[in-house]
């Protein structure tokens, strides 16, 4: 299959998944929190397309609501992280001097911190009486706020390269103002890097949320996310007995693959 065709397929798959997640309320046969306590761990049937979880909740309903949570908030967190990386990485690369040193030192310090423990500590500092929806927003906001350092290094390196390019020297020599130089010359050239960082961050944040949920610290019950659905896979023999429990993992893998296959297209078209 040629590459453009593959990208179209990937984009279509992603769009389809996004749409289903967006209209979860309409598509879902049951509310995601409803417990059918007489039917815990039920196998797939016409009543429950993907069976039920250990509390008797419909897994199909939870999967599509979880899709909404994970696929809407992960891009938002990725956007926030990319924005921060773009602003500070660009500033460090462009201005140089003590500003560059300070920003890079802060980045190195942030990268040296174990992200997971920082997230655990920050999550513990949040007030307890927040609703599950606010909690999920807070989790992704924290991911966005803490997930910028690696992107910043890339943006900084790209900006530093561009700063010494002939076309920027020429622009500077012809008296081009600083803002005009940034907007007209620098940003268009940084766009592929920023796009790449954005697309790369999405699956990273989906997976980080999954890790946090596996630790019981991501999206809180009863709100589903791919992360807390993946917790059902902790017991490997239960998965062998109920292979349909792998659906969230398959979906996550599919989304990550699609994002990765679309990514080169962004670099090429920019």
């Amino acid at each position: 299959m040629n590459t453009p065709k593959l990208r179209v397929i990937c984009a279509s798959v992603l769009c389809a998944i996004f749409v289903v997640g967006l209209f979860a309320g309409t598509v879902s046969p049951y509310p995601y929190a409803k417990q059918f306590r007489e039917r815990p761990n039920a196998a797939p049937s016409s009543t429950h397309l993907l069976g039920t979880d250990s509390l008797g909740r419909d897994l199909f309903a939870r999967l599509i609501y979880g899709t909404r949570v994970s696929l809407l908030l992960a891009p938002a967190a990725a956007l926030l992280a990319t924005l921060l990386a773009g602003i500070f990485g660009g500033l460090a690369g462009l201005v140089g001097g003590w500003c560059e040193k300070f920003i890079l030192a802060a980045t190195d310090l942030s990268m040296a911190l174990p992200l997971l423990f920082v997230l655990l500590a920050l999550r513990a500092l949040l007030p307890l009486d927040i609703s599950p929806v606010l909690s999920v927003i807070a989790t992704f906001a924290l991911l966005g706020l803490l997930g910028w350092p690696s992107s910043l290094r890339v943006v900084w390196a790209a900006t530093k390269n561009l700063r010494n390019c002939d076309f920027l020297l020429l622009a500077r020599a012809t008296g081009c103002g600083r803002w005009r130089m940034i907007v007209r010359h620098l940003l268009p050239n940084l766009r592929p890097v920023l796009f790449a960082q954005f697309w790369i961050s999405i699956p990273v944040f989906v997976l980080t949320e999954a890790t946090l949920s596996m630790l019981g610290l991501g999206v809180i019950e009863p709100l589903p996310s791919w992360g807390n659905l993946l917790r059902g896979l902790e017991d490997i023999s239960a998965v062998t007995a109920n292979p349909w429990r792998l659906t969230p993992l398959v979906l996550l893998a599919l989304v990550v693959i699609c994002f990765q296959l679309i990514l080169p297209a962004q670099e090429e078209t920019a």
Binding site: L128, I220, A238
Partner: protein
Amino acid sequence: MPSPLKNLALTILLALAVPVRAQTGGELHFCLHGEPKTFNPILVDDEASENVRYLTGGVLIRLNRQTQALEPALSTSWKISRDRRTITFHLRKGIHFSDGTPFSSEDVAHTMRLLMDPETHSPTGDAFRSGEGTAQVQTPASDVAVITFPAPIAGLERLFDQVAVLSAHSPKKEMAVLGPFYVADYKAGSYVLLQKNPNYWRHDAQGHALPYIDSVRLDIQRNRDIELLRFRRGELQLINRLDAEQFERLQRENPAVTRNAGTGLDAEELWFNQSPAAPLPASKKSWFGMTEFRKAISMAINREDLCRVVYAGYAKPAYGPVSPSNHFWFNAHLEDPKYDPQGALRLLAQAGFRLDNDTLKDRAGNRVEFTVVTNSGNAAREKIATMIQQDLSQVGIKVNVVTLDFPSLIERMTRTFDYEACILGLVNTDLDPNGQMNVWLSSGENHQWNPSQKSPATAWEAEIDKVMREQATAPTEKERKAKFDRVQQIAAERQPFIYLINKDVLLAVSPSVVGAAPVVLEPWGLWNVDTLRLGPAPELGVQK
């Protein structure tokens, strides 16, 4: 003799020898779920060390884990004075420590001195510290020890089940033991190897020396899944405490290896934060302080569903601080509250709450909503919280569930008091209510709903304080029981803790272990380790 005949004779001999060899000797393998912090029995403070202490320590009085009655061990008899301050032990004669040092009353005196010495910081010794001053030990004869405490101690004789006697003269110090095994080898993070104590004092009815097993290998393994995998491969012969999911899986594969010892002593419970120092809105403090509110919450929780869904049926609804498995102290006269959401609504209405469009509101019109915290990583507790969330939504109450890592949770429970309600488990290792003193006294640190009070906040807490102190000094067990029954009654009426379930004690025992009779008390499957025998390891017939 010609060779074929020799072989035949050897085969016959071996065949005849098999039943005998299957009954004695061999090595028992099982796992400790943590590193033993000490081999000094008087410093034991963790489950792994406690297991080692049980297997190696010789005690004056042993609590029979099956009958829950006290039995003579190193002492042939004992007598407690009327004021419950003095206990006189008559010791067995002709007993030696594992290294051959003779046992006498001097060893008892030495052990008690170490135990009661504040410099030793012995957790076991804490239970004996009833008042100001130290315990006096007299040794009028080599087989008589008289111990006098500064103040009366209720259930005094029972406490000696935890006191492993140390040698006063052995150069090996605490490594010289009087129990069935001694520590022969230890590799940190890997294993503890125990060998049969050749001088162990117990013999079976036929006069054979106990224990039957030659050695016990305790592998240090924190990961329960790996433990289960090793059991299924036949590398381990026993697993103490399985969770319901593991148990059910194992039962599907090979029912012969699963053992349900019955309802355990541990309970899962929910409580509301009633501390005046809690940074909570006044309305919430007022709800949490109302008995009717707490009772209504209790009535609206479907405990049967919790047992069936979360624990696959391997749990029983809990209604009080004492499990029915604690035969003597359980108050059987208390009525089990039934799951009754309508009754809960009626009770809430009496207390001034009203249901408005499926939303419960208080007198001032505030929506009734609270957050339940529990520790992250405990799947069962998270499921319990989620099920309670749905149960309480039936009576219009919105519950948020938050999981926190354990240190953060403890910080909120004990220092900042910044939480509304909490689900945690109460681990009960002692049958005697004195072990729960710190929970029931209003001044106690573990009086979780309102800890470390200077004076009791409510009249019923004052009554619990009074009755608990009275039971601790009552002269007879019957009187103590009557007093503690009253405490259980108050707890049922006031519901400071909303008890949810008592988990079953689930174990896996290989059919090669002969004589295993798991019980609900620690150390569960190992309580009769000195009479366990190892037969040939049969094919488990489970997935490898």
